[in-house]
């Protein structure tokens, strides 16, 4: 199958244009905005940031009668541990994002778009600025695009290093110049978003898929992947495989195929222990569960995990799961915004319990406490960061309990990995 997103020789405007780029924009501008939204709905495209919300439906939530400005925001604050697909996409195919934003902006009636990019992505931000400048020079961005009367300005805004700003309403707060903290919903951003105006926020990968959908039609896109998980997805594979990296594959591809066919299998001498299929916040799968899993929204939900951002973290035998969870806990503890009680207090609590277990100071009771500390956070906060901490904890304890018990008894479960600690 031909790639839709990750293509060769489209880094520059010239290359992108030569490959047929910006034809979809021209086509879109001849359509009615509502027709574009309908086409995207037909495509079955779902949010690629992690939650998988239907994109066309999200666009249609912008109130029809809303007066005043509307905004389109691209969430390029790629921070979920294990995830590095948006970065690759922006480097390799920046104009798919720029064109996708112009089309989406036209569809929702936005006059301006913002790309909120992770602060550490300095080079990517510079590249985007440069390519937006080039696109503006050709009349694809700016006022009266291609003589259509539609004007759309595009800005790049760099974050300041907070994971929480990848949550869409925290992102809006940050974009407005405030501390990045998620907002209470409702109202949802479609009604009251950036600067109080109706706003659509989409992930880089989602927006970059829009030009192809307009060019070849929603039905074509929907024919790729599975009936409910349409299209292609970028999978970023990390861990001891022969060819880690970003792979564009139809949704529904099996983990087995991704691992063995695309990633060249596990490194010599490595045995698979577990897989985190969708970024660090998604529940872990055992080797057996992973080898039987298909990578799409529904299949992974049925397997007790989530597709998330498509960040597939491969965990080898010999890796201590307590240690791994401790590293995750340190991350979430560091990144919790501190607004909601369960997350603010719970993330630190979990890290401290794991520190105890990892350092051999833990007790059997700590395992129960660990589990219930996570359980008490689940689904009880403004944003899903608490869930992102709780889900790995609960799944690790459930599936690798004996390792936690070994730690509580004063032994490391994976002595052969001790050196790697």
């Amino acid at each position: 199958m031909e790639n839709i997103l990750l293509k060769d020789k489209v880094e520059s405007l010239e290359g992108y244009f030569a490959a047929g780029g910006y034809r979809p924009l021209k086509k879109a501008l001849a359509m009615k905005p509502a027709e574009i939204t309908e086409e995207v709905k037909r495509s079955g495209l779902r949010g690629r940031g992690g939650a998988g919300f239907p994109t066309g439906l999200k666009w249609s939530f912008i109130p029809k009668d809303a007066q005043g400005p509307r905004y389109l925001v691209c969430n390029a604050d790629e921070g979920e541990p294990g995830t590095f697909k948006d970065r690759e996409l922006m480097l390799k195919n920046p104009h798919a994002l720029i064109e996708g934003m112009a089309i989406a902006g036209y569809a929702i009636g936005a006059g301006a778009g913002y790309i909120y990019i992770r602060g550490e992505f300095a080079a990517e931000a510079d590249l985007l600025e440069r390519e937006i400048f080039a696109a503006r020079g050709k009349g694809f961005i700016g006022s009266n695009i291609l003589g259509s009367g539609f004007s759309f300005e595009l800005y790049v805004h760099r974050g300041a290093g907070a994971y929480i700003c990848g949550e869409e309403t925290a992102l809006l707060e940050s974009l407005e110049g405030f501390k990045g903290q998620p907002r209470l919903k409702p109202p949802f951003p479609a009604v009251k978003g950036l600067f109080g105006a109706p706003t659509v926020i989409n992930n880089v990968e989602t927006l970059a898929a829009v030009p192809a959908i307009i060019e070849k039609g929603g039905a074509w896109y929907a024919s790729i992947g599975t009936p409910k998980s349409a299209g292609t997805k970028l999978f970023c594979v990390s861990g001891p495989v022969n060819k880690p990296g970003v792979y564009e594959l139809p949704l529904g591809v099996s983990f087995k195929e991704l691992l063995e066919k695309h990633c060249g299998g596990l490194k010599a001498g490595v045995r698979l222990k577990a897989v985190i299929p969708g970024g660090s916040s998604t529940p872990v799968l055992t080797a057996a569960e992973a080898m039987a899993a298909a990578l799409d929204y529904e299949s992974l939900a049925a397997a007790g995990s989530m597709l998330g951002s498509g960040a597939v973290i491969v965990i080898p035998e010999g890796q201590c799961m307590v240690k791994l969870l401790q590293v995750l806990a340190r991350f979430y503890h560091h990144e919790s915004c501190g607004q909601c009680t369960p997350c603010r207090e719970g993330c630190g609590w979990i890290e401290k319990i794991l520190n105890r277990l990892e350092e051999g100071r833990g007790t059997a009771r700590d395992i129960e406490t660990l589990y219930s500390a996570a359980d008490g956070m689940l689904g009880r906060t403004i944003c899903p960061l608490a869930d992102a901490m709780a889900m790995p904890v609960m799944s690790f304890v459930k599936k690798f309990r004996e390792e936690f018990e070994a730690h509580a008894a004063g032994r490391c479960c994976a002595p052969e990995a001790a050196g790697k600690h």
């Binding site: 560091h334 501190g338 603010r344």
Partner: protein, 489 residues
């Protein structure tokens, strides 16, 4: 008008009403920390989670709008578990220093812990996050960041009520702490409300700190006399001493109370409180002081004058009017105070610093007398030889008294109030000690309720006037505050 069901009871509420408010209308208390009826909803404490049918997750009652057909449960096992969990999280890093905390006895953590948790701590004390304690912030407050539960009521109060926005949550996660923004001070004139809105012992009053355990305090509902706004207050006292004054929220005037208003009580137990008379700067027993004062008035009977006071109650002003009309039999009196009134800061503080100009004018309406200007002219010309008034009102005629040379006889509660050159000063019971009627700038009549007793021998001003009249050979028959009011209110 959506109709919803809460714990089996159905009610109709106005559109925009939240589940928490609707529950309140039914008398169902949903526990909360960050919610405050007069502040914006922040939804961060997660204490008010309730079960709403058809919603997969528990919802915060404070931020969920009531909707038609909504079915809410506030006491299911799921809800109870969530409350227990939130309390456990809140108490993890809390120092549990209740024995030395001023909030003990009126603390949201203590109350809800007893009601909803009673669980044993599963968190080792050595793991607690340590934060700064005892930080004096501003003239009135001390902040203990360890006790703070980060509900942000204080931050929102400063942003939304005083609009001064001095406070901010710094850092993030469990390193978060409330702090002043750089270069700011917490001196917005309403800062003690922060200690009130704080549901725990993080913000405490520097004035009240360590003075009294709250469960010993008796509470007397009364009125603030700090200005013409006339806020309703509650005086907290024990064994004859006042410890603090709190707002008594009401729809007419105030939810809050300004810092200055809260400090008015200080004069009651100040070191310069007068319990005796003063003649030419010398303290003298009350009886000789009264006798001396009466004879000075008698000397100049024909040229005596009386000025009421916007700082005195209607009763006491009325007594002064009776003194002029019935004892001195003079028309040289005035109860005419026309200070500009109205809220000057958009919150509570009035342009008129005196509490009862409107009440004094009611005495004028009933008893007549001169305008303030007419009386001032008579004093300035020397036609008035002796003037009887209240200490702070005398200051209004400072220049006229100097020009005309009249002998000044004043009533004062504290020595610091006595104007320079006063000939005689008589003490009286102030309005923390005696009931009095005050008319605020809106024309609302409000009565003070005594919380503590006046110093030995000190009587209400109307009673002092009555005795002064007796020494001059007249009986005004003022044997109660009500008697003084007869024909006036």
């Amino acid at each position: 008008m959506p109709k919803l069901t809460i714990d089996g009871k159905t009610l109709e509420v106005a559109k925009g009403t939240t589940v928490l408010e609707a529950a309140q209308q039914l008398g169902v208390h949903v526990p909360r920390y960050c919610y405050h009826p007069k502040l914006s909803v922040s939804g961060n404490c997660r204490m008010c989670l309730v079960e709403v049918e058809k919603s997969p997750k528990l919802l915060t009652a404070c931020s969920t709008e009531a909707a038609e057909g909504m079915v809410v449960h506030t006491a299911t096992e799921k809800v109870k578990a969530a409350r227990r969990d939130v309390l456990e999280y809140l108490l993890l890093n809390h120092p549990l220093d209740c024995p030395v905390c001023d909030q003990a006895g009126e603390c949201g953590l203590q109350d809800y812990y007893m009601e909803h948790s009673r669980a044993k701590s599963r968190f080792p004390a050595e793991d607690k996050v340590r934060r700064q304690k005892r930080r004096p912030l501003g003239p009135h407050l001390v902040l203990d960041n360890e006790r703070c539960i980060l509900c942000t009521r204080c931050v929102r109060f400063c942003a939304e009520v005083t609009k001064t926005a001095e406070l901010e949550v710094m850092e993030r996660g469990d390193r978060s702490f409330i702090d002043l923004k750089e270069g700011r001070a917490l001196d917005n004139g309403y800062s003690l409300n922060i200690a009130d809105v704080c549901p725990v012992g993080a913000w405490t009053s520097r004035d009240f700190r360590f003075k009294q355990r709250v469960w010993f305090l008796k509470k007397t509902p009364t009125v603030c006399l700090g200005c013409a706004t006339g806020c309703l207050t509650e005086v907290h006292h024990n064994e004859g001493a006042i410890y603090r004054v709190m707002p008594r929220p009401n729809a007419e005037t105030n939810t809050w109370l300004c810092d200055a208003g809260r400090m008015v009580y200080k004069a009651v137990q100040a070191g310069d409180r007068l319990a005796k008379g003063v003649i030419k700067n010398g303290l003298i027993e009350l009886e000789p002081a009264l006798r001396e004062t009466a004879s000075r008035i008698d000397e100049n009977h024909a040229a005596a004058a009386v000025l009421g006071s916007p700082w005195l109650s209607v009763e006491d002003n009325a007594a002064l009017a009776r003194l002029a009309k019935d004892a001195l039999k003079t028309e040289n009196f005035s109860f005419d105070f026309n200070a500009e009134q109205g809220i000057k800061d958009g919150i509570l503080i009035n342009k008129d610093p005196a509490p009862n100009a409107a009440g004094a004018r009611r005495v004028k309406a009933a008893c007549g007398g001169l305008s303030f200007g007419e009386l001032a002219a008579k004093v300035a010309s020397g036609a008035v030889k002796v003037l009887v008034t209240e200490a702070r009102a005398a200051a209004l005629l400072k220049n006229e008294l100097k020009a005309g040379g009249a002998r000044l006889i004043v009533f004062a509660a504290n020595r610091s109030e006595i104007p320079q050159g006063a000939y005689a000063t008589l003490p009286y019971a102030n309005y923390f000690e005696t009931p009095g009627t005050f008319v605020n700038f809106q024309g609302l009549e409000r009565r003070t309720v005594p919380a503590v007793a006046a110093p030995e021998g000190v009587r209400p001003l109307w009673a002092m006037v009555n005795r002064l009249a007796v020494y001059s050979g007249t009986s005004l028959h003022l044997d109660s505050a009500e008697a003084a009011l007869k024909g006036i209110l």
